[in-house]
Symmetry: C2
Subunit: 354 residues, 2 copies
Amino acid sequence: MSSAASDAGEQLRAKLASRRPTMKDVATLAQVSLSTVSRFVNGDPGRPELVARIQDAIDLLGYRRDLTASTLRRADRASASVGVLVADVGNPFFAAVLRGVEEVARARGSLTVAASSDEDPARERDLAAALIARRIDGLIVVPAAEDSSYLRPERQVGVPLAFIDRPPRFLDADTVLSDNAAGTATATRHLLDAGHSRIGFLGDRERIFTCAERLRGYREAIGTVDPALIRLELDEAGVEAATRSLLTLPDPPTALLTSQNLLTMGAIRALRRLGAQHRVALVGFDDIPLADAVEPSVTVVAQRPVDLGRRAAELLFDRIDGYDGPSRRMIVETQLIERESSHLRPRVSPQRAS
Amino acid sequence: MSSAASDAGEQLRAKLASRRPTMKDVATLAQVSLSTVSRFVNGDPGRPELVARIQDAIDLLGYRRDLTASTLRRADRASASVGVLVADVGNPFFAAVLRGVEEVARARGSLTVAASSDEDPARERDLAAALIARRIDGLIVVPAAEDSSYLRPERQVGVPLAFIDRPPRFLDADTVLSDNAAGTATATRHLLDAGHSRIGFLGDRERIFTCAERLRGYREAIGTVDPALIRLELDEAGVEAATRSLLTLPDPPTALLTSQNLLTMGAIRALRRLGAQHRVALVGFDDIPLADAVEPSVTVVAQRPVDLGRRAAELLFDRIDGYDGPSRRMIVETQLIERESSHLRPRVSPQRAS
DNA sequence: CTGAAAGCGCTTACAG
DNA sequence: CTGAAAGCGCTTACAG
């Protein structure tokens, strides 16, 4: 770059003060038109001579393109970002889902905007609106709301949508689910095979699809259900009391099934505190860190959360790329990881032995 | 709304087909000017009569404001979103950090755009550029790069910046850190007090600030350091071999210190596999799920990742709100959570006993 | 209080 | 290949 141009750059830079340089500034400094800079920035170079001037001007000014302005004007309206709405980005399960989405998005040059609904339907709606107002190219939702039809207008207008972990209700859209019922059915049969007939079920909120499905798999596999053995609406703290209460029943369960990761951790702690971890069998839904290292190690129905995220992102990008066929549903298989806690044989409980 | 207006709405709706309705569509349907709709949408109502017409038109069309266009034009340029760059959104530690940031951002009406650098400096730079190109109001970074000066132009131009977990190098910016060295020093003294003199240190990458600091705390507390007891550049898989190798030294360590969550989990597994978990003491940096439920339960130096995220977000929003003072550094204290694994007394190893 | 007009930073036909 | 001009959806002085 000539020293004259460099001086011009310095002057322009000073003039800009703390303003972010624009494409127009680059054009002025490089002494070309705005269109030429735009074409260059978009990968349509032009004469080598001009290219060099433009690149120098960009470097000198520290120019960064404003993608929001670009999105606004371009024909395809692509913002190169997708939104993800989960219950809690801090929960390891959803964190892994998010990671799966991000991998696929990144391979496609897209960024991921994540938000936590905290299982609050109103917050979910607000966040969905906030994401869509920012012109994301598509939205992935783990629905907290029982009714996803609030997204119908967005769908109509062509915002690609995909659901993970729980299907939308009153709305037709691509969905990726774990095989929840099959997972708990397998786990339940596994416990029945080990000789357990009284199996307790510890679940979170029945209105959440995954809990309802996992309960259904348990019910179907077990045959005759004793409602006294089912405890729902639990959180990590509530599990301890529920476990204690189950184990002090006149005819207590000899095995427990927990419906999700936080409840499994709560149940592990509760059994240990009761000194019952080697007496009462346990299977948890969703694998957890160190499940293999506690004593006894804990059998789980492992999900594949990263895959859930990846698959949903793939379905979403299909739509972003123009696929307009009927909505699809994918099931990601769960896997029973047999560890020690499910190989405990049923024993007569202390109360009954006395 | 009159039926004539409603008909007009239906017609406009049909005409829009699958196009997203704009403020102009609303203005046309409500028979007011664009400015009036804009003012209404921005909370400056006007005559009740017009307000009603505008609200009806918005509802009928399913109008959603385009925030990217709004950001482009408005005086303050606020996009109501902040960016966060961590090593891996799927790692529970960073997931918790993200959650903390999101809480504060949400309270401020901002969305959070998260991305994973995977400890790759080049990717970090790309992602930072991608975020800034989307006009985020501020950027929070867990730096993978050894040199953060690539962000200087952004800083110059007024993009608020905050760093978490590791300080920026060659750049002056607000930073929130755990007291890493103090944490490992406390842990080391705790082990020394229990009678251990040979304490192994298992770390990840020394070029990462947190690892270096935690190593420093260990070195300073222990006094005379035996380099044979320090193993670095480990990942979760490599920890097992490193543990085995340490324990088969002629004069093996009687206690281990691990520098982060994944390594602690690896060490727990390794010790169990070697049958050494009740013989070799262990303290991990960063708490992990079920650390309280393994046998022996694992003593840790707990960090407060959600607080790290919150504090950094608060510093960031101060800047977004216009604070322009010198950069600040906040230390979030760690806490030694004493469990069983650090209360094991040093024992002569089997080899030496034989 | 309301509306016409300019313009945010960019892309994209359209001429030359 | 290059440049002048229109316009994406919105906000914001400025008149009336």
